[in-house]
Every structure is written in structure tokens, then in C-alpha cells.
Symmetry: C2
DNA sequence: GATTCCTTTTGGTATGACCAAATGAAATCT
DNA sequence: AGATTTCATTTGGTCATACCAAAAGGAATC
């Protein structure tokens, strides 16, 4: 008879990973500074370089360190952004087809719809001020498509910030990063900028009027239009 | 003068990763079957075992293969669940304190609120039927707390399924997995089950009545209550 | 003070070896 | 014959060593 699952399995690197990530969180390895040299760790921990390298690679995939090819791994405290970066490699596979992108974009619509509803119901003066400021920056950049892209993104970012949940800004960054390839191939037309700015203004107005339904509608129309533009760019039927 | 970014950086394993993931996606390495032995790949590709192992580890972290410690890596086609599993290690770090859990739980409330709104607006007969069936299973399990937990989770899962966006069920699984530790330590009382079932019923009724606002309210109250229970369990002020 | 040049350090890769667990086939038992 | 045990082989995990090219750091130079 077999003992169904042998939980004795273990990789030596796992323990090293745990040890190192503990030292990172405790601040013993301060954020931004390089990890000790592989040979040092090897000696210090009494293990082979193989295991050290394996552990470092794990940490890298977990986003706890950034490991540029021939450089020392740089420590990066675990944050929600680190979590997102851990997803990057997988996301690449899921976004190589249009339906994958669409699925991700749909979640974005859903989340931002929820965000604007929440903003319409709970935004305080500072939130409104930040939103207004972002909107005006967006307006001022209508003529400059690159700058408009930035301010557009920033405007949406404010919506995520309003939630005051640190997870959400990270998600926004992820959306920006992963959907950027689609956006960057689109033609930048001032008239499009104008339309997008108007959409942002409608969203802002609805939030100002404390009207969640109107805010959600405006947001959905805005993002659906954006999706149509993407489809047109890639010759796909909307 | 520097050439800003030297794009010459590369790890030999990266190319191997690309090659192998291509063979996986093309089906040359069929789903569920083991990857060739390291020594085979080494010879076949004319590289050292070091690089092969490094590549395999990358594939593993990307969720393209599942590599149990002393077994052959098993090919697994990339899905959204693979993406979630990539987050697991980082999530652990973020969930070791109560605020981390709360932040995650808040996103859950937000997403499920959006889901029930959507369900109230767009659910079709089959969705309603699935929801009703899940609700009845939940009701039948009020006396059995373990079974109730399962059916409770399943009921919420249906909400994610209704979106018909394959990303969301994966997110549900992630929530279930990551928040399970909190739940499992809570006392299981039939009276609590009863109350939770009633909450589910209210949500269902609101969806049936096509009333997004009522559905959202019911959902929020339900999850906020759940959170209070968690807080009480862990002696934290709500 | 900035630049160039050189030495050392360090990460990336290749080899070869050994062990314990996993695998698969042969031998054995029922 | 079919299931079980036994044993030889394969294979992943780890270690040790070596070499190279790039990075890092410091010394000599402009």
C-alpha cells in the first residue's frame, strides 16, 4: 500500500529562498541594494553555487529581486507591484491572442466600472481635486498625443487611487503595462484625443454629481470605444 | 557616450525556454506528458545540463510545466489558473498580516459587487438555473458545516462563471485558496450557516428581480458580515 | 576632476561525478 | 495468467571545479 502523498519532497533551494526572503523582509538586505555575491552566500550557507543560483532565480521570479542578466540581483521589498511582476511571464502567454487581450480588457472594464461607482459615492474633496487636476492635464495635452497618452493613463490611475486600497494601483500598473502593446500600435489622432478627453470629462462630471449609474455608463462607453479603436487597428471585427 | 540600453543581454536558458514553450503550445509536447529527460535535451540542444535545468525551472515558474521535486516535469498548457499559481509565493508574503488580508478581501467585495450587478442585468435562464441549483445545495448543507463551506464557495463561484470571462473563475479560485486560512479557523455554527444562506438567498432574489442595486447591497452586507466574523475570530476590532 | 586602463570580482556556462529516489523490467508469488 | 516483489537502470538533485566574458573597482593618466 502506498502512502498516497509523500510530503517529504523538498528542494534544497526552497529553504534558501525562505531564508533570503525573510532577510529581505526584515530589512537585513535593504531595498535597492544588491544581494551578496553567489560565492559568498554559497560559503556562508554551506551549500553549492547550484543551489544558490536556483534560489536566486526563484526570488527573481517572485519579484523579490530584479536579476538583470550579468548584474548583481537587486533587492526589492515585496509589494503588490512585485506580485504583478511575478505574473508577467505567464501573462505574456495569455495575451498573445486577441481573445486573451479581450478577456483582460473586460476585467479592466469591470473593475473601473466598479471604481467609478465607488468614486461617485464616496469620493472626498481631495479625490475630486486630484481627478480634476488629472482631467485638466489631460485636456492640456490634447494636441500632444504622447503626452495625452500619459495623462490619459494618469487620469485612470487616479480612479484606482481613490479606492485607497494599495492592491488596485498595482493592478492599474499591470493593465497599463500589459495592454500597452495594443495601444502603442494605434494611430494617435488629436480628434481621438479630443473624444477621449470628452469621455473623461463625462466620467468626472458624473462623479461630481454623485451619480454612480451615469459614471458607470460613461466609463463603459469610454472603454468600449477604446476597444473598438483597438479592433479597428488590428483589423478585427468589433 | 553610452548606448543607453545594451540589448545584447541574454541568458542562454531564455532561448531554450522559448523553444520549449513553443513546442508545448504547438502540441509537440502534449499536455500531461512528461518533458524529455534533462540529459536528452542537453544532448539534443547541444547545451549543458545547467542551462536545461535553468530553463525547466523557468517553465515551471511560468506554469507551463508542473515540476514536482524528484519527478519528471509534466507539460501543462498555460491557463489563467497557471497565472494565479505564479502569484502564490508572493501572495503569501502579502497575506501574513491582517491589513494585507483586508486589502485582498476588499478587492473581492468590489469584484463580487460588480459581478452581482452584472448578473442582475444580464443573467440568462441557464445562469439563473445554475445559481438556483447552487443555492439549494447550499440550503441543504446548513446542518453540515464542512459541506456548507463547499457549497457556499460554489455559490460564489457561479457568480464568477456568469461573467463568461475565463479570467474570473481563476480569480475566484485564487480568493478561495488565499483566504481559506482565515476561514478555516472560524467556528462553524449552523446558525451562522443559516444566516449566510439567507444572505445568499437575498442576493439570488435580487438577481432574479433584475435589481442590480439590491443585489449589490445584499452582497456587500453579506461579505461585510463575513469580515466581521473573521475579525471576531482573530480578536481584532472590526 | 574626468577619462582611460588594468586588475579583480562576479555571474553565466560547461563538465563530470555521486546519491537517492523514481522508473521500468525481471523474477517471484498467488 | 495476473498481481506482487525485487532488482538494475534511469533520472533528477546536489556538489565541486574550471573557464570565460562582462561588470566593478581602483590606479594611473590626461
Amino acid at each position: 500500500m502506498e502512502h498516497d502523498t509523500d510530503r517529504k519532497d523538498s528542494r534544497a533551494s526552497d529553504e534558501v529562498v525562505r531564508l533570503l526572503s525573510a532577510k529581505i523582509q526584515s530589512g537585513e538586505y535593504s531595498d535597492g541594494s544588491p544581494l551578496p555575491a553567489e560565492r559568498s552566500l554559497m560559503e556562508e550557507l554551506g551549500i553549492s553555487r547550484t543551489v544558490v543560483r536556483e534560489a536566486v532565480q526563484s526570488l527573481s521570479k517572485q519579484g523579490l529581486v530584479v536579476a538583470r542578466p550579468r548584474h548583481r540581483p537587486i533587492v526589492r521589498k515585496p509589494g503588490y507591484e512585485a506580485a504583478i511582476s511575478a505574473l508577467e511571464s505567464v501573462a505574456t502567454h495569455l495575451l498573445d491572442n486577441m481573445t486573451g487581450v479581450r478577456n483582460l480588457f473586460d476585467t479592466r472594464i469591470m473593475i473601473e466600472a466598479a471604481l467609478v461607482r465607488q468614486a461617485a459615492k464616496e469620493a472626498n474633496r481631495e479625490d475630486i481635486a486630484a481627478l480634476k487636476s488629472a482631467l485638466e492635464a489631460n485636456r492640456a495635452a490634447i494636441a500632444d498625443s504622447d503626452e495625452f497618452y500619459r495623462t490619459d493613463n494618469a487620469f485612470h490611475g487616479v480612479l484606482y487611487d481613490i479606492s485607497r486600497n494599495p492592491v488596485l494601483p498595482s493592478i492599474h500598473k499591470a493593465y497599463s503595462t500589459w495592454l500597452e502593446p495594443q495601444w502603442s500600435q494605434m494611430p494617435r489622432l488629436p480628434e481621438r484625443n479630443e473624444a477621449n478627453y470628452e469621455a473623461h470629462r463625462r466620467i468626472f462630471d458624473a462623479i461630481l454629481l454623485r451619480d454612480p449609474d451615469a459614471a458607470e455608463d460613461a466609463l463603459r462607453e469610454h472603454l468600449n470605444n477604446a476597444w473598438k479603436q483597438v479592433c479597428r487597428t488590428f483589423d478585427e471585427q468589433p
